[in-house]
């Protein structure tokens, strides 16, 4: 009885656009959904440092190096405050990291693709951050307060990253024939994985139901994907690159672009761990974590010694 009343009050708040805060009552499924979604988002920021980190040492100018470093530093910062938001749901960062490393938690599949040329730094910024922004702008209105506030902060930086990525692509598309070829190749490789970042079609998306009712998710996968495609097609045209989809065409009646079918077999293969870099990314993360164990232990031991000294004094 009690729970039904609480659930009604909870839904009334959601319907009235009142944010849910950490100490408020919430259904267990709502908490679990958010723990999963926010930690997955945090893990994505952190794992995403790897494919971009792959090019810091080879950035072709000092300016480009600084811009890329600053960007990756932002991603680490996003990971940090997303873990903080996730911790308000009653699980520690260590527990979330454990879930990542034992493959109970996922991160965005896009980071399981390799970054092979400098143009990939452009494509990742333009397409991957571009797709992430469409999703995150929508999530600024999500019903859970700490997540919503984290998104507001993150969106400001992400739109900057997207412009920087596009700048790299534009520059290369107008550069030497080799540079243009690298830019087109990067677009070819990242286009389909980017539009699959929005997840399966609404009809095949098991997590959409309650998430929409509870306003965790404000728009569906297909709606968000369409938004991203509509705004990106023109950007490609402006810099003279071709989106690798022969079925892509403007639909006057709908006021949207029609596009070809995505390769869902590939999507699930990568989600299930068989993308080109799944093992590499996870092993890299585990190795850094294990290599740092003695450092974390030392910091704890030092802190304990200091505390003891204070007590004696």
């Amino acid at each position: 009885m009690e729970d039904i009343k609480k659930l009604e009050e909870f839904q009334a708040k959601i319907d009235a656009e009142i944010k849910i805060e950490p100490k408020d009552w919430m259904p267990e499924d709502y908490r679990k959904h958010l723990q999963r979604q926010i930690s997955q988002h945090a893990h994505s920021e952190v794992i995403g440092m790897q494919p971009e980190g792959n090019w810091i040492s080879r950035a072709p100018s000092l300016r480009a190096k600084v811009v890329l470093l600053a960007k990756i530093q932002d991603e680490a910062g996003h990971g940090q405050y997303l873990y903080s938001a996730a911790e308000t749901l009653g699980k520690s960062r260590d527990e979330y990291i454990e879930e990542l490393q034992t493959e109970k938690a996922k991160y965005s599949s896009i980071f399981n693709y390799p970054t092979l040329t400098w143009a990939d730094m452009g494509a990742v910024g333009w397409l991957v951050d571009g797709a992430a922004i469409v999703n995150q702008v929508s999530l600024q209105r999500t019903s859970y307060g700490p997540y919503s506030r984290a998104m507001v902060r993150i969106c400001k930086e992400e739109s900057f990253h997207q412009r920087q990525g596009y700048e790299i692509m534009a520059h290369m598309a107008n550069g030497t024939p080799e540079q243009k070829a690298m830019a087109q190749d990067a677009l070819n490789r990242f286009w389909w994985p980017s539009i699959m970042m929005f997840g399966p079609h609404d009809s095949d998306s098991p997590n959409t139901g309650n998430a929409v009712k509870w306003k965790i998710k404000r728009e569906t996968n297909d709606e968000l994907r369409q938004k991203f495609i509509d705004k990106t097609v023109q950007q490609a045209e402006v810099i003279g690159l071709t989106i690798p989809d022969p079925d892509l065409k403007w639909n006057e009646e709908k006021g949207h672009y029609d596009f070809g079918e995505m390769d869902w077999e590939e999507f699930w293969r990568v989600v299930k761990g068989n993308g080109p870099c799944n093992k590499q990314r996870l092993n890299h993360h585990k190795k850094a974590h294990q290599d740092g164990a003695w450092v974390r232990e030392a910091a704890l031991a030092y802190a304990a010694k200091q505390k003891e000294k204070q007590l004696v004094a």
């Binding site: 080879r58 072709p60 990971g79 740092g292 232990e297 910091a299």
Partner: protein, 252 residues
Amino acid sequence: MEKKDALINYCLRLGDSSLILGQRMAEWCSNGPILEEDIAMTNLALDLIGQARTMLTYAGEIEGKGRTEDDLAYKREEREYYNTLLSERPNGHFGDTVVRNFLHSAFFYHLYQALKNSSDEMIAAHAAKSIKEVTYHLRHSAEWLVRLGDGTSESHNKVQESLNNLWEFTGDLFEMNEVDELLIKEGIAVDLNSIKKDWDKTVNDVLERATLSRPEDEYMQTGRLDAMHSEYLGHLIAEMQFLQRAYPTAKW
């Protein structure tokens, strides 16, 4: 030697040391022991590469042949690099990096304190700006050194070993030649003998807090002034310069 050539060389020494150490710090990205350290170490890399850009740009201006910061960073060979031997040491484990950065940051800290009074306005301004960053770098590495030195017995032994291994590269920091001699007379450069005792004090104080023993000054490696490096630098530079070398006509 002309003053102009001496000044170019002096700027390259400063710029190259920052660049190489910055490139090393950037290698830590996504490899740190905790996320906060990834952020901190990326920050150090950003500061250092920023410092390098200022000095390399200035070196190019003085030279007057139209060479930019990127021409100097990407189109010189290793025998034209004047960075400190310490800056090019590989990252090793976290303790190796902390010790290297501590010894180097303490050097930069006292160097820039003194260079704030350089008669060369650009160098004085560069020192005044960099000192803020380097103060943080020194605090960051010193605080970690204390934690690792006075943490567990494992961490203590590890960083003591790092310190023993890196010590032979500290002599190179303070070596001088006719470039220094000429520029000291002009009030541009700093007599490195005069900052050595400050460096010693900083190092001794922190090592004491860290319960570490200062290694004996036995044989010191040398080479910075003649652009004589370890084998490590060539690999670092080859990687850094790859795109500029492979596509010489491309603009990025």
